[in-house]
Protein backbone atom coordinates (compact mmCIF):
# COMPACT_ATOMS: atom_id res chain seq x y z
CA UNK A 1 0.00 0.00 0.00
CA UNK A 2 2.60 2.42 1.15
CA UNK A 3 5.03 1.52 -1.54
CA UNK A 4 2.30 1.65 -4.12
CA UNK A 5 1.33 5.14 -3.07
CA UNK A 6 4.92 6.21 -2.98
CA UNK A 7 5.69 4.77 -6.32
CA UNK A 8 2.57 6.30 -7.76
CA UNK A 9 3.53 9.69 -6.45
CA UNK A 10 7.07 9.13 -7.57
CA UNK A 11 6.03 8.10 -11.01
CA UNK A 12 3.67 11.02 -11.38
CA UNK A 13 6.34 13.51 -10.38
CA UNK A 14 9.12 11.73 -12.13
CA UNK A 15 7.21 10.98 -15.27
CA UNK A 16 5.75 14.40 -15.84
CA UNK A 17 7.17 17.25 -13.79
CA UNK A 18 6.68 19.25 -16.94
CA UNK A 19 3.00 18.42 -17.08
CA UNK A 20 2.52 19.41 -13.43
CA UNK A 21 4.34 22.63 -14.03
CA UNK A 22 2.34 23.14 -17.19
CA UNK A 23 -0.93 22.49 -15.37
CA UNK A 24 0.07 24.90 -12.65
CA UNK A 25 1.05 27.45 -15.25
CA UNK A 26 -2.17 26.99 -17.18
CA UNK A 27 -4.18 27.27 -13.97
CA UNK A 28 -2.51 30.49 -12.93
CA UNK A 29 -2.70 31.93 -16.42
CA UNK A 30 -6.37 31.01 -16.60
CA UNK A 31 -6.99 32.70 -13.28
CA UNK A 32 -5.06 35.77 -14.30
CA UNK A 33 -6.68 35.89 -17.72
CA UNK A 34 -10.03 35.49 -16.07
CA UNK A 35 -9.17 38.43 -13.85
CA UNK A 36 -8.17 40.48 -16.87
CA UNK A 37 -11.38 39.67 -18.72
CA UNK A 38 -13.47 40.34 -15.63
CA UNK A 39 -11.82 43.71 -15.27
CA UNK A 40 -12.45 44.53 -18.91
CA UNK A 41 -16.05 43.40 -18.61
CA UNK A 42 -16.69 45.07 -15.26
CA UNK A 43 -15.06 48.34 -16.19
CA UNK A 44 -16.78 48.23 -19.53
CA UNK A 45 -20.22 47.67 -18.06
CA UNK A 46 -19.71 50.19 -15.31
CA UNK A 47 -18.49 52.78 -17.74
CA UNK A 48 -21.48 52.21 -20.01
CA UNK A 49 -23.86 52.54 -17.13
CA UNK A 50 -22.15 55.69 -15.89
CA UNK A 51 -21.62 57.19 -19.34
CA UNK A 52 -24.95 58.98 -19.32
CA UNK A 53 -24.61 62.38 -17.75
CA UNK A 54 -27.19 63.05 -15.04
CA UNK A 55 -29.62 65.86 -15.68
CA UNK A 56 -28.05 68.45 -13.42
CA UNK A 57 -24.38 67.96 -14.33
CA UNK A 58 -22.95 70.24 -17.00
CA UNK A 59 -19.59 69.89 -18.72
CA UNK A 60 -17.17 72.83 -18.98
CA UNK A 61 -17.24 74.96 -22.14
CA UNK A 62 -15.79 73.33 -25.23
CA UNK A 63 -16.27 69.81 -23.89
CA UNK A 64 -16.37 67.19 -26.62
CA UNK A 65 -19.60 65.20 -27.01
CA UNK A 66 -19.95 63.00 -23.92
CA UNK A 67 -18.70 59.75 -25.50
CA UNK A 68 -15.59 61.45 -26.91
CA UNK A 69 -15.09 63.41 -23.72
CA UNK A 70 -14.88 60.20 -21.71
CA UNK A 71 -12.17 58.98 -24.06
CA UNK A 72 -10.16 62.19 -23.97
CA UNK A 73 -10.38 63.57 -20.43
CA UNK A 74 -7.60 62.20 -18.21
CA UNK A 75 -9.26 63.65 -15.10
CA UNK A 76 -6.33 65.89 -14.20
CA UNK A 77 -8.35 68.82 -12.92
CA UNK A 78 -6.25 71.45 -14.69
CA UNK A 79 -9.48 73.02 -15.96
CA UNK A 80 -10.78 73.07 -12.38
CA UNK A 81 -7.63 74.81 -11.20
CA UNK A 82 -7.75 77.54 -13.82
CA UNK A 83 -11.41 78.41 -13.41
CA UNK A 84 -11.37 81.73 -11.52
CA UNK A 85 -14.87 81.24 -10.14
CA UNK A 86 -14.46 77.72 -8.70
CA UNK A 87 -17.29 76.68 -10.95
CA UNK A 88 -15.85 73.32 -11.90
CA UNK A 89 -15.53 70.28 -9.68
CA UNK A 90 -14.07 66.82 -10.22
CA UNK A 91 -16.50 64.01 -9.64
CA UNK A 92 -15.74 61.49 -6.90
CA UNK A 93 -16.26 57.75 -7.08
CA UNK A 94 -19.92 56.97 -6.46
CA UNK A 95 -21.21 60.25 -7.86
CA UNK A 96 -23.35 59.80 -10.95
CA UNK A 97 -20.81 61.63 -13.12
CA UNK A 98 -17.89 59.52 -14.44
CA UNK A 99 -15.24 59.34 -11.71
CA UNK A 100 -12.76 62.19 -11.76
CA UNK A 101 -14.25 64.14 -14.65
CA UNK A 102 -15.00 67.87 -14.37
CA UNK A 103 -18.55 69.18 -14.24
CA UNK A 104 -20.56 71.94 -12.66
CA UNK A 105 -23.98 72.28 -11.16
CA UNK A 106 -25.70 75.44 -12.35
CA UNK A 107 -27.69 76.01 -9.19
CA UNK A 108 -24.50 75.87 -7.06
CA UNK A 109 -21.98 77.88 -9.09
CA UNK A 110 -22.74 78.83 -12.67
CA UNK A 111 -20.15 79.43 -15.37
CA UNK A 112 -19.32 83.13 -15.69
CA UNK A 113 -18.43 82.75 -19.36
CA UNK A 114 -14.90 84.16 -19.14
CA UNK A 115 -13.84 85.93 -22.33
CA UNK A 116 -10.47 84.19 -22.38
CA UNK A 117 -11.96 80.77 -21.45
CA UNK A 118 -9.08 79.72 -19.15
CA UNK A 119 -10.53 76.26 -18.53
CA UNK A 120 -10.28 75.37 -22.21
CA UNK A 121 -6.74 76.76 -22.43
CA UNK A 122 -5.67 74.67 -19.45
CA UNK A 123 -6.86 71.35 -20.82
CA UNK A 124 -3.86 69.34 -22.03
CA UNK A 125 -5.78 66.61 -23.84
CA UNK A 126 -8.33 68.32 -26.02
CA UNK A 127 -11.23 67.01 -23.96
CA UNK A 128 -12.05 70.72 -23.92
CA UNK A 129 -11.74 71.71 -27.55
CA UNK A 130 -9.51 74.73 -28.23
CA UNK A 131 -11.48 75.45 -31.36
CA UNK A 132 -13.87 77.17 -29.01
CA UNK A 133 -12.45 80.69 -28.92
CA UNK A 134 -15.67 82.65 -28.52
CA UNK A 135 -17.36 81.78 -25.24
CA UNK A 136 -20.71 82.87 -26.72
CA UNK A 137 -20.50 79.82 -28.97
CA UNK A 138 -20.16 77.43 -26.02
CA UNK A 139 -22.79 74.73 -25.70
CA UNK A 140 -22.45 73.53 -22.12
CA UNK A 141 -26.16 72.83 -21.92
CA UNK A 142 -29.50 74.32 -22.72
CA UNK A 143 -31.85 76.17 -20.42
CA UNK A 144 -35.49 75.16 -20.30
CA UNK A 145 -38.26 76.86 -18.38
CA UNK A 146 -39.57 73.65 -16.94
CA UNK A 147 -42.09 74.77 -14.36
CA UNK A 148 -44.88 76.80 -15.94
CA UNK A 149 -46.89 76.60 -12.73
CA UNK A 150 -44.34 78.30 -10.47
CA UNK A 151 -42.45 80.70 -12.74
CA UNK A 152 -43.53 84.14 -11.55
CA UNK A 153 -43.73 85.49 -15.08
CA UNK A 154 -46.09 82.67 -15.97
CA UNK A 155 -48.24 83.82 -13.07
CA UNK A 156 -48.44 87.17 -14.81
CA UNK A 157 -45.88 88.95 -12.59
CA UNK A 158 -42.74 90.69 -13.75
CA UNK A 159 -39.85 88.83 -12.16
CA UNK A 160 -37.63 88.66 -15.26
CA UNK A 161 -34.56 87.75 -13.21
CA UNK A 162 -33.47 84.85 -15.40
CA UNK A 163 -33.79 87.09 -18.42
CA UNK A 164 -31.84 89.94 -16.87
CA UNK A 165 -28.88 87.87 -15.64
CA UNK A 166 -28.36 86.11 -18.95
CA UNK A 167 -24.96 87.02 -20.41
CA UNK A 168 -26.48 86.56 -23.86
CA UNK A 169 -29.61 88.57 -23.01
CA UNK A 170 -32.13 89.08 -25.82
CA UNK A 171 -30.51 86.39 -27.90
CA UNK A 172 -30.39 83.31 -25.66
CA UNK A 173 -33.44 84.34 -23.69
CA UNK A 174 -36.19 86.79 -24.60
CA UNK A 175 -39.43 87.88 -23.01
CA UNK A 176 -42.30 86.96 -25.31
CA UNK A 177 -45.60 88.71 -24.87
CA UNK A 178 -48.55 86.39 -24.48
CA UNK A 179 -52.17 86.98 -23.68
CA UNK A 180 -52.91 86.29 -20.03
CA UNK A 181 -56.02 84.07 -20.12
CA UNK A 182 -56.58 84.38 -16.39
CA UNK A 183 -57.30 88.09 -16.36
CA UNK A 184 -58.10 88.08 -20.08
CA UNK A 185 -56.86 91.66 -20.26
CA UNK A 186 -53.19 91.54 -19.27
CA UNK A 187 -50.02 90.29 -20.85
CA UNK A 188 -47.61 87.62 -19.64
CA UNK A 189 -43.99 88.17 -20.55
CA UNK A 190 -42.73 84.66 -20.81
CA UNK A 191 -38.98 83.96 -20.57
CA UNK A 192 -38.24 82.03 -23.74
CA UNK A 193 -34.93 80.29 -24.39
CA UNK A 194 -33.47 80.07 -27.88
CA UNK A 195 -31.28 77.08 -28.48
CA UNK A 196 -29.17 78.75 -31.15
CA UNK A 197 -27.78 81.27 -28.66
CA UNK A 198 -28.04 79.70 -25.19
CA UNK A 199 -24.60 78.60 -23.96
CA UNK A 200 -25.90 76.65 -20.98
CA UNK A 201 -23.90 78.79 -18.58
CA UNK A 202 -26.49 78.20 -15.90
CA UNK A 203 -26.79 81.78 -14.66
CA UNK A 204 -30.54 81.82 -15.20
CA UNK A 205 -31.05 78.69 -13.10
CA UNK A 206 -28.60 79.95 -10.50
CA UNK A 207 -30.50 83.25 -10.18
CA UNK A 208 -34.09 82.05 -10.27
CA UNK A 209 -35.68 83.56 -7.17
CA UNK A 210 -37.87 80.57 -6.36
CA UNK A 211 -36.79 78.08 -3.68
CA UNK A 212 -36.54 75.54 -6.51
CA UNK A 213 -35.61 77.04 -9.85
CA UNK A 214 -38.39 77.09 -12.45
CA UNK A 215 -35.81 77.44 -15.21
CA UNK A 216 -33.18 74.73 -15.32
CA UNK A 217 -30.17 74.01 -17.47
CA UNK A 218 -29.66 70.50 -18.81
CA UNK A 219 -27.09 68.76 -20.97
CA UNK A 220 -28.22 69.51 -24.51
CA UNK A 221 -29.33 66.02 -25.42
CA UNK A 222 -31.75 66.09 -22.49
CA UNK A 223 -33.21 69.51 -23.16
CA UNK A 224 -33.46 69.49 -26.92
CA UNK A 225 -35.59 67.59 -29.36
CA UNK A 226 -34.85 67.24 -33.04
CA UNK A 227 -36.97 67.36 -36.18
CA UNK A 228 -36.54 64.62 -38.73
CA UNK A 229 -33.84 65.64 -41.18
CA UNK A 230 -36.23 65.75 -44.15
CA UNK A 231 -38.71 68.16 -42.56
CA UNK A 232 -39.10 71.53 -44.26
CA UNK A 233 -40.99 74.45 -42.79
CA UNK A 234 -43.29 75.84 -45.45
CA UNK A 235 -43.00 79.42 -44.21
CA UNK A 236 -39.24 79.31 -44.29
CA UNK A 237 -39.16 77.71 -47.73
CA UNK A 238 -41.68 80.30 -48.90
CA UNK A 239 -39.53 83.13 -47.62
CA UNK A 240 -36.41 81.63 -49.16
CA UNK A 241 -38.00 81.20 -52.58
CA UNK A 242 -40.02 84.39 -52.51
CA UNK A 243 -43.33 82.58 -52.86
CA UNK A 244 -45.15 79.32 -52.39
CA UNK A 245 -43.51 76.35 -54.07
CA UNK A 246 -46.84 74.67 -54.85
CA UNK A 247 -48.75 77.62 -56.23
CA UNK A 248 -51.68 79.53 -54.75
CA UNK A 249 -53.77 77.49 -52.34
CA UNK A 250 -57.46 77.84 -51.54
CA UNK A 251 -57.84 79.45 -48.12
CA UNK A 252 -59.98 77.20 -45.95
CA UNK A 253 -62.01 78.73 -43.15
CA UNK A 254 -60.88 78.00 -39.61
CA UNK A 255 -63.66 76.19 -37.78
CA UNK A 256 -64.19 75.51 -34.16
CA UNK A 257 -63.35 78.91 -32.78
CA UNK A 258 -66.73 80.58 -33.26
CA UNK A 259 -67.29 82.97 -30.43
CA UNK A 260 -63.91 82.35 -28.96
CA UNK A 261 -61.37 85.05 -28.26
CA UNK A 262 -58.40 82.74 -28.54
CA UNK A 263 -55.42 84.38 -30.15
CA UNK A 264 -57.13 87.72 -30.42
CA UNK A 265 -56.73 90.88 -28.47
CA UNK A 266 -59.49 91.33 -25.92
CA UNK A 267 -60.70 94.40 -27.73
CA UNK A 268 -60.77 92.83 -31.15
CA UNK A 269 -64.21 91.94 -32.44
CA UNK A 270 -64.80 88.30 -32.94
CA UNK A 271 -65.63 87.68 -36.54
CA UNK A 272 -66.89 84.21 -37.09
CA UNK A 273 -66.90 83.19 -40.71
CA UNK A 274 -70.67 82.84 -40.74
CA UNK A 275 -71.15 83.10 -44.45
CA UNK A 276 -68.45 80.73 -45.51
CA UNK A 277 -69.47 77.99 -43.15
CA UNK A 278 -73.09 76.96 -43.49
CA UNK A 279 -74.35 75.43 -40.29
CA UNK A 280 -72.49 72.17 -40.08
CA UNK A 281 -74.25 69.63 -37.89
CA UNK A 282 -71.04 68.39 -36.37
CA UNK A 283 -70.17 71.75 -34.88
CA UNK A 284 -71.62 72.02 -31.39
CA UNK A 285 -73.51 75.18 -30.52
CA UNK A 286 -71.43 77.94 -28.94
CA UNK A 287 -71.39 77.52 -25.17
CA UNK A 288 -72.28 80.18 -22.68
CA UNK A 289 -69.40 82.62 -22.58
CA UNK A 290 -67.44 82.29 -19.35
CA UNK A 291 -66.37 85.35 -17.44
CA UNK A 292 -62.68 84.89 -18.07
CA UNK A 293 -60.30 82.76 -20.02
CA UNK A 294 -60.42 80.99 -23.29
CA UNK A 295 -62.23 77.82 -24.00
CA UNK A 296 -61.01 76.03 -27.06
CA UNK A 297 -63.59 73.34 -26.33
CA UNK A 298 -60.93 70.76 -26.73
CA UNK A 299 -61.57 67.73 -24.60
CA UNK A 300 -59.23 64.84 -24.16
Amino acid sequence: MDTGKNSARKSSTAASPASVARRKFINSVAAAAGGGCLLALGAGLYSRQAAALPAQALRPPGALPEADFLAACVRCGLCVRDCPYDTLKLSDLGEPVATGTPYFTARKIACEMCDDIPCVKACPTGALDRQLTDINKAQMGLAALVDHESCLNFLGLRCDVCYRVCPVIDKAITLETHHNPRSDRHAMLLPTVHSDACTGCGKCEKSCVLPEAAIKVFPRQLAQGALPAHYRKSWEEKARHGGSLIGEQVEMPARGFEGSTAGRAATEAVTAPTGAAPAAPSVPPPPAKTAAGINSRWKP
Binding site: S28, V29, A31, A32, A33, G35, G36, C37, L38, L39, A40, L41, A43, G44, Y46, S47, R48, A50, A51, A67, D68, L70, A71, A72, C73, V74, R75, C76, G77, L78, V80, R81, D82, L90, D92, L93, G94, E95, A98, T99, G100, A122, C123, P124, T125, G126, R130
Partner: protein
Amino acid sequence: MSMATTTVSSASGCAPARSLWQRQRWLILRRASQLLILLAFLSGPWFGVWIAKGNLSSSLTLGVLPLTDPLLVLQTLVTGHLPYSSALIGAAIVLGFYLLIGGRVFCSWVCPVNVVTDAAAWSRRRLGIKTGRVPDANTRYWLLGGLLLAAAATGTLAWEWVNPVSLLHRGLIFGMSGGLFVIAGIFMYDLLVASRGWCGHLCPVGAFYGLLGKKALLRVAAPNRKACDDCMDCFAVCPEPQVIRPALKKVGQESPLILASDCTTCGRCIDVCDKQVFKMTHRFDQRSE
Protein backbone atom coordinates in the same frame (compact mmCIF):
# COMPACT_ATOMS: atom_id res chain seq x y z
CA MET B 1 4.13 57.54 8.96
CA SER B 2 4.00 54.65 11.28
CA MET B 3 6.29 52.92 8.86
CA ALA B 4 9.22 54.85 10.22
CA THR B 5 9.57 52.37 13.03
CA THR B 6 9.56 49.32 10.79
CA THR B 7 12.34 46.95 11.55
CA VAL B 8 12.08 43.26 11.17
CA SER B 9 14.76 42.23 13.57
CA SER B 10 16.42 38.89 13.36
CA ALA B 11 17.18 36.74 16.33
CA SER B 12 20.83 37.62 16.17
CA GLY B 13 21.60 40.61 18.31
CA CYS B 14 25.30 40.62 17.66
CA ALA B 15 25.34 42.94 14.64
CA PRO B 16 27.01 46.30 15.23
CA ALA B 17 24.35 48.82 16.20
CA ARG B 18 23.39 51.12 13.37
CA SER B 19 21.86 54.53 13.88
CA LEU B 20 18.17 55.17 13.22
CA TRP B 21 19.14 57.09 10.10
CA GLN B 22 21.14 54.15 8.80
CA ARG B 23 18.27 51.81 9.47
CA GLN B 24 15.54 54.02 7.98
CA ARG B 25 17.34 56.23 5.50
CA TRP B 26 15.67 55.10 2.28
CA LEU B 27 12.26 54.83 3.88
CA ILE B 28 12.53 58.38 5.19
CA LEU B 29 13.74 59.66 1.82
CA ARG B 30 10.90 57.89 0.02
CA ARG B 31 8.23 59.18 2.35
CA ALA B 32 9.71 62.66 1.98
CA SER B 33 9.56 62.30 -1.80
CA GLN B 34 5.95 61.14 -1.74
CA LEU B 35 4.99 63.90 0.67
CA LEU B 36 6.81 66.67 -1.21
CA ILE B 37 5.17 65.66 -4.48
CA LEU B 38 1.79 65.83 -2.77
CA LEU B 39 2.66 69.18 -1.18
CA ALA B 40 3.72 70.58 -4.56
CA PHE B 41 0.12 70.02 -5.66
CA LEU B 42 -1.43 71.21 -2.40
CA SER B 43 0.58 74.38 -1.80
CA GLY B 44 -1.59 76.10 -4.41
CA PRO B 45 -5.02 75.39 -2.98
CA TRP B 46 -3.76 75.62 0.60
CA PHE B 47 -1.38 78.59 0.57
CA GLY B 48 -1.86 80.15 -2.84
CA VAL B 49 1.68 79.20 -3.87
CA TRP B 50 1.29 77.32 -7.14
CA ILE B 51 4.05 74.82 -7.79
CA ALA B 52 2.23 72.01 -9.56
CA LYS B 53 -1.33 72.11 -10.88
CA GLY B 54 -3.46 69.11 -11.69
CA ASN B 55 -2.56 65.67 -10.40
CA LEU B 56 -0.48 62.64 -11.36
CA SER B 57 -2.73 61.98 -14.34
CA SER B 58 -1.60 65.21 -15.92
CA SER B 59 -0.02 68.28 -14.42
CA LEU B 60 1.66 71.56 -15.15
CA THR B 61 4.59 72.47 -12.94
CA LEU B 62 5.60 76.11 -12.47
CA GLY B 63 3.48 76.96 -15.47
CA VAL B 64 5.93 75.41 -17.94
CA LEU B 65 6.60 71.71 -17.35
CA PRO B 66 3.81 69.44 -18.56
CA LEU B 67 3.77 65.90 -17.16
CA THR B 68 1.24 63.28 -18.15
CA ASP B 69 0.82 59.66 -17.15
CA PRO B 70 1.94 57.67 -20.23
CA LEU B 71 -0.41 54.80 -19.38
CA LEU B 72 -3.34 57.20 -19.53
CA VAL B 73 -2.19 58.60 -22.85
CA LEU B 74 -1.80 55.04 -24.13
CA GLN B 75 -5.39 54.30 -23.12
CA THR B 76 -6.57 57.51 -24.76
CA LEU B 77 -4.82 56.50 -27.98
CA VAL B 78 -6.42 53.06 -27.77
CA THR B 79 -9.87 54.67 -27.60
CA GLY B 80 -9.03 56.50 -30.80
CA HIS B 81 -8.58 60.01 -29.43
CA LEU B 82 -5.37 61.87 -30.23
CA PRO B 83 -4.59 64.22 -27.34
CA TYR B 84 -3.11 67.69 -27.77
CA SER B 85 0.66 68.01 -27.93
CA SER B 86 0.92 69.24 -24.33
CA ALA B 87 -0.36 65.87 -23.10
CA LEU B 88 1.85 63.98 -25.57
CA ILE B 89 4.97 65.94 -24.62
CA GLY B 90 4.12 65.47 -20.96
CA ALA B 91 3.78 61.73 -21.47
CA ALA B 92 7.07 61.59 -23.39
CA ILE B 93 8.91 63.34 -20.55
CA VAL B 94 7.50 60.97 -17.94
CA LEU B 95 8.16 57.97 -20.17
CA GLY B 96 11.77 59.04 -20.74
CA PHE B 97 12.34 59.63 -17.06
CA TYR B 98 11.13 56.21 -15.95
CA LEU B 99 12.81 54.42 -18.84
CA LEU B 100 16.08 55.98 -17.76
CA ILE B 101 15.83 55.97 -13.97
CA GLY B 102 13.69 52.92 -13.31
CA GLY B 103 10.05 52.13 -13.97
CA ARG B 104 8.89 51.17 -10.54
CA VAL B 105 10.68 54.09 -8.97
CA PHE B 106 7.20 55.49 -9.54
CA CYS B 107 5.79 52.91 -7.13
CA SER B 108 8.10 53.47 -4.20
CA TRP B 109 8.91 57.16 -4.60
CA VAL B 110 5.75 58.72 -6.04
CA CYS B 111 2.63 56.56 -5.82
CA PRO B 112 0.47 57.40 -2.78
CA VAL B 113 -1.02 53.89 -2.67
CA ASN B 114 2.45 52.61 -1.78
CA VAL B 115 2.09 54.18 1.66
CA VAL B 116 -1.17 52.31 2.17
CA THR B 117 0.13 48.94 1.02
CA ASP B 118 3.40 49.37 2.92
CA ALA B 119 1.33 50.05 6.02
CA ALA B 120 -0.75 46.95 5.33
CA ALA B 121 2.37 44.82 4.86
CA TRP B 122 3.88 46.21 8.05
CA SER B 123 0.69 45.51 10.00
CA ARG B 124 0.52 42.03 8.55
CA ARG B 125 4.05 41.28 9.71
CA ARG B 126 3.46 42.84 13.09
CA LEU B 127 0.22 40.97 13.70
CA GLY B 128 1.68 37.76 12.34
CA ILE B 129 -1.18 37.31 9.92
CA LYS B 130 -0.54 34.38 7.62
CA THR B 131 -4.01 33.84 6.21
CA GLY B 132 -5.17 34.24 2.69
CA ARG B 133 -4.30 33.31 -0.82
CA VAL B 134 -1.94 35.19 -3.05
CA PRO B 135 -2.94 35.59 -6.70
CA ASP B 136 -0.49 34.85 -9.47
CA ALA B 137 2.01 37.66 -9.87
CA ASN B 138 1.32 37.72 -13.59
CA THR B 139 -2.28 38.73 -12.95
CA ARG B 140 -1.16 42.35 -13.14
CA TYR B 141 -0.09 41.95 -16.76
CA TRP B 142 -3.44 40.42 -17.60
CA LEU B 143 -5.14 43.29 -15.85
CA LEU B 144 -2.96 45.69 -17.82
CA GLY B 145 -4.12 43.98 -21.01
CA GLY B 146 -7.67 43.98 -19.66
CA LEU B 147 -7.71 47.70 -19.05
CA LEU B 148 -6.43 48.42 -22.55
CA LEU B 149 -9.07 46.06 -23.89
CA ALA B 150 -11.71 47.83 -21.82
CA ALA B 151 -10.59 51.17 -23.25
CA ALA B 152 -10.79 49.83 -26.79
CA ALA B 153 -14.12 48.11 -26.24
CA THR B 154 -15.90 51.00 -24.54
CA GLY B 155 -14.15 53.87 -26.27
CA THR B 156 -13.67 55.46 -22.85
CA LEU B 157 -10.97 55.48 -20.20
CA ALA B 158 -12.90 52.75 -18.40
CA TRP B 159 -10.09 51.92 -15.95
CA GLU B 160 -10.14 55.48 -14.64
CA TRP B 161 -13.52 54.84 -13.09
CA VAL B 162 -11.88 52.67 -10.47
CA ASN B 163 -8.09 53.12 -10.74
CA PRO B 164 -7.03 53.35 -7.07
CA VAL B 165 -3.76 55.13 -7.93
CA SER B 166 -5.36 58.13 -9.59
CA LEU B 167 -8.37 57.88 -7.29
CA LEU B 168 -6.22 58.38 -4.20
CA HIS B 169 -3.89 61.02 -5.59
CA ARG B 170 -6.75 63.01 -7.10
CA GLY B 171 -8.75 62.54 -3.93
CA LEU B 172 -5.95 63.81 -1.70
CA ILE B 173 -5.71 66.95 -3.81
CA PHE B 174 -9.28 67.59 -4.89
CA GLY B 175 -11.16 65.90 -2.05
CA MET B 176 -12.67 62.45 -1.86
CA SER B 177 -15.22 60.36 -0.04
CA GLY B 178 -16.35 57.40 -2.13
CA GLY B 179 -12.78 56.67 -3.22
CA LEU B 180 -11.79 56.00 0.39
CA PHE B 181 -13.70 52.72 0.25
CA VAL B 182 -11.51 51.50 -2.57
CA ILE B 183 -8.37 52.44 -0.65
CA ALA B 184 -9.67 50.84 2.54
CA GLY B 185 -10.50 47.77 0.45
CA ILE B 186 -6.92 47.54 -0.80
CA PHE B 187 -5.57 47.90 2.73
CA MET B 188 -7.82 45.13 4.03
CA TYR B 189 -7.01 42.93 1.06
CA ASP B 190 -3.28 43.28 1.61
CA LEU B 191 -3.67 42.84 5.35
CA LEU B 192 -5.97 39.83 5.44
CA VAL B 193 -6.12 38.16 2.06
CA ALA B 194 -2.86 38.45 0.22
CA SER B 195 0.54 39.56 1.41
CA ARG B 196 1.64 42.37 -0.92
CA GLY B 197 -1.45 41.43 -2.89
CA TRP B 198 -2.20 44.70 -4.60
CA CYS B 199 1.16 46.22 -5.50
CA GLY B 200 2.96 42.92 -5.89
CA HIS B 201 0.39 40.98 -7.86
CA LEU B 202 -2.55 42.98 -9.14
CA CYS B 203 -1.84 46.65 -9.81
CA PRO B 204 -1.68 47.13 -13.60
CA VAL B 205 -0.21 50.61 -13.17
CA GLY B 206 2.77 49.15 -11.35
CA ALA B 207 2.95 46.44 -14.01
CA PHE B 208 3.12 49.10 -16.71
CA TYR B 209 5.91 51.00 -14.96
CA GLY B 210 7.65 47.70 -14.34
CA LEU B 211 7.73 47.09 -18.07
CA LEU B 212 9.33 50.49 -18.54
CA GLY B 213 12.12 49.61 -16.11
CA LYS B 214 13.72 46.75 -18.03
CA LYS B 215 16.90 48.69 -18.77
CA ALA B 216 16.77 51.29 -16.05
CA LEU B 217 19.95 52.88 -14.73
CA LEU B 218 19.19 53.14 -11.04
CA ARG B 219 19.59 49.72 -9.45
CA VAL B 220 20.00 48.16 -6.04
CA ALA B 221 22.89 45.74 -5.77
CA ALA B 222 24.22 43.27 -3.23
CA PRO B 223 27.99 43.88 -3.60
CA ASN B 224 28.68 42.70 -0.05
CA ARG B 225 26.75 39.46 -0.46
CA LYS B 226 29.57 37.46 1.16
CA ALA B 227 28.56 39.02 4.47
CA CYS B 228 24.95 37.79 4.22
CA ASP B 229 24.14 35.64 7.27
CA ASP B 230 20.77 34.44 5.91
CA CYS B 231 18.73 36.35 8.45
CA MET B 232 16.03 36.80 5.76
CA ASP B 233 15.25 40.35 6.89
CA CYS B 234 15.46 41.64 3.33
CA PHE B 235 13.12 38.94 2.04
CA ALA B 236 10.63 39.74 4.77
CA VAL B 237 10.58 43.44 4.08
CA CYS B 238 10.88 43.46 0.27
CA PRO B 239 7.64 44.08 -1.62
CA GLU B 240 8.92 41.85 -4.44
CA PRO B 241 11.06 39.28 -2.58
CA GLN B 242 11.62 37.13 -5.66
CA VAL B 243 13.94 39.76 -7.17
CA ILE B 244 16.58 39.46 -4.44
CA ARG B 245 17.71 35.86 -4.78
CA PRO B 246 19.47 36.06 -8.18
CA ALA B 247 21.71 38.88 -7.00
CA LEU B 248 22.20 37.76 -3.40
CA LYS B 249 22.61 34.03 -3.99
CA LYS B 250 23.99 34.11 -7.54
CA VAL B 251 21.02 32.22 -8.90
CA GLY B 252 21.32 32.33 -12.66
CA GLN B 253 23.57 35.37 -12.66
CA GLU B 254 27.01 36.39 -11.48
CA SER B 255 26.25 40.10 -11.23
CA PRO B 256 25.39 41.46 -7.77
CA LEU B 257 22.83 43.80 -9.40
CA ILE B 258 19.14 43.29 -8.76
CA LEU B 259 18.13 43.36 -12.40
CA ALA B 260 14.48 42.30 -12.28
CA SER B 261 12.28 45.22 -13.24
CA ASP B 262 9.84 44.24 -10.48
CA CYS B 263 12.28 45.74 -7.96
CA THR B 264 10.76 49.05 -6.95
CA THR B 265 14.13 50.54 -5.96
CA CYS B 266 12.64 51.28 -2.58
CA GLY B 267 15.90 50.59 -0.77
CA ARG B 268 14.19 48.82 2.14
CA CYS B 269 16.62 45.91 1.79
CA ILE B 270 19.50 48.36 2.23
CA ASP B 271 17.82 49.76 5.34
CA VAL B 272 17.07 46.51 7.09
CA CYS B 273 20.29 44.63 6.39
CA ASP B 274 22.54 44.77 9.42
CA LYS B 275 25.41 43.30 7.41
CA GLN B 276 25.17 46.16 4.92
CA VAL B 277 25.02 43.81 1.99
CA PHE B 278 23.03 46.10 -0.30
CA LYS B 279 23.61 49.50 -1.78
CA MET B 280 22.01 51.84 -4.26
CA THR B 281 24.00 52.06 -7.45
CA HIS B 282 23.77 52.15 -11.23
CA ARG B 283 23.32 49.49 -13.86
CA PHE B 284 26.98 49.28 -14.89
CA ASP B 285 28.37 48.88 -11.39
CA GLN B 286 29.45 45.22 -11.32
CA ARG B 287 31.72 45.55 -8.30
CA SER B 288 31.38 42.85 -5.75
CA GLU B 289 33.49 42.72 -2.62
